[in-house]
């Protein structure tokens, strides 16, 4: 499935116009999967929100450069393994992310955006899981 980088960037820019985008993402994730919440105790909510938005931007900014995405994925894989993140949790995060983006974009959200984000996240999650599988 093709990933439309422009669609990813445009929808992310719109989502980030909401100051509480990251906060809404975590609220959704923790409401659906409360068992995730204890994994985020090392950082305050404000710091966690900033780190999440910053990492998401870094990945989307580099989406056309596979080696940079892989480098980001490796870094995430390393820290998340230390925090006790399990494989199935990546799916939960992906669902919460796409749903939060969809809400934030409102009427600007399209099927193409849904497909691009799902495909991009799937590829990223696979890259994060890859070092552990290897």
């Amino acid at each position: 499935m093709t990933i439309d980088a422009k669609v990813l960037r445009d929808t992310l820019e719109i989502a980030l116009t909401r100051d509480d985008f990251a906060e809404r993402f975590y609220a959704r994730l923790f409401a659906q999967h409360p068992e995730c919440q204890p994994l985020f105790k090392r950082n305050s909510a404000g710091a966690q929100n900033k780190m999440f938005a910053q990492k998401l931007c870094a990945i989307v900014d580099a989406i056309e450069e596979p080696e940079r995405v892989v480098a980001e994925a490796s870094a995430i894989a390393k820290t998340h393994a230390e925090y006790g993140v399990r494989d199935e949790m990546y799916g939960w995060v992906g669902d919460a992310l796409v749903a939060t983006l969809r809400d934030a974009n409102g009427d600007d959200w399209s099927d193409e955006a849904e497909r691009s984000w799902s495909a991009a996240y799937e590829a990223l999650a696979a890259a994060i899981r890859a070092p552990r599988a290897g």
Binding site: L16, R42, S44, A47, C57
Partner: protein, 488 residues
Amino acid sequence: MSASESTESNIELPWEAQARKAARPCPHLVLAWSVDEPARIGESLAIEGPVCLGRGGPLSDDPAPRGVLAKVRPDQQLACEPIANARISRLQLVAEPEGDGVKIRSLGRALMRINGATVTEGVARHGDVVEIHNAAVFYVCVRPTRLPQLSTWDAEHTAPFAFGGPDPFGLVGESEAAWALRDAYAFAASTDRHVLLLGESGVGKEVAARSIHGLSPRSARPFIARNASTMPETLLDAELFGNAKNYPNPGMAERAGLVGEADGSTLFLDEIGDLPEKCQVHLLRVLDADGEYQRLGESKTRRSSFKLVAATNRPVASLKHDFLARFVHRIEIAGLDQRREDIPLLVGHLLDHAARKNPTVAARFFEVRAGARAEPRIAPNLVARLLRHPFTHHVREIDRLLWLAIGTATGDFIGLTPAVESELRDSATSEQEVADLDRETVARALADNDRSPTRTAKALGLKNRYVLIRLLKKHGLSVSADADGSDA
């Protein structure tokens, strides 16, 4: 005239080389606050030509080259990573020099404000504040692209300190003025001559004295400090020179006095201007090269190899002239109006200090990263307003305002509460008020303030001396008296 008779020379004289090497001043955007990248405060971007500013690296459709923020010090110009702040768009601003300022166009998703007014395009000048809504705050300053080379401060032999952090002696600042102060302290420390520190209350005179002591060969000995205004006139000699055993009364212990205690070290006397003239006379002899003095009740002459660092916030003229003459080095400590770009760094330093001493402040107002205390949660509009406030008590005033903000905060961030707002003024006289200042008013203010641009600007209520320079140009006046004859 033949070629061999030409009077032109290819030899460059040292002062010519210095002038050639001096970097031309240009407007800079100095990062004063960043929601996502608080560690980058103090980095600056020189606007020498059109540049783009945004998150990440260059884009194919950028209308101008990408501006690169740098950590600038006199001995270094360290280009920094691209901006990673998620709230800043990939193409947020386009900036280019215009006149004595910088023309800024906002192209990003976050609103831009210049001095609090929302605009999509505007010209910002020295002293102005540019906010990218809830993302970043920039302070505009005109300064050389390279900071002037320091003559005495030796970075190689001074303990290294993080960019933006306090130096080993407690001075915080990366501005041209802050580095000029460090250099002046290093020079004063390199000689045995006495030093007079001049500056308004709260500019950091004790930090200056500690810097001079710390940078001097005397640093291994304890630094002796005393406030001269607290020394009773009748006990002045005893305080300074000590007394023999059983003098003046039986049972009195022998005391070395401040001069004796400071032998081989530095004696810091703050508020020396509060010492009455007749008391200043008591210090004349000991301040001479040999450092001769006598303890009370003792006939023998002693010698103390001490270095006096005295400080006052009063005009130099208020000191007795022969007392004043003993101070070979006089250092005027720059106030915050001359180093506004250091205000955010001072805010960070003071809040860090507050958090270290007060766990409740740390727990309530600071983020936590990987289990450790990280950056403070501070509202950008508070930083923006502090950057424009005309300080009278400088660092001490920032500290007081921050504690007021902490004490009146209702949430978990340090913000612009009504109590703080009521204390803040805008240093900028409005554009219209500046335009209304007539030639005679400006010329009189200049004459009344010894033609000092900084003091004249302050007296006229101008934001800074650059605004004054524009005004002088408009009225055909000049800082030097003979150039316009305005106050003849």
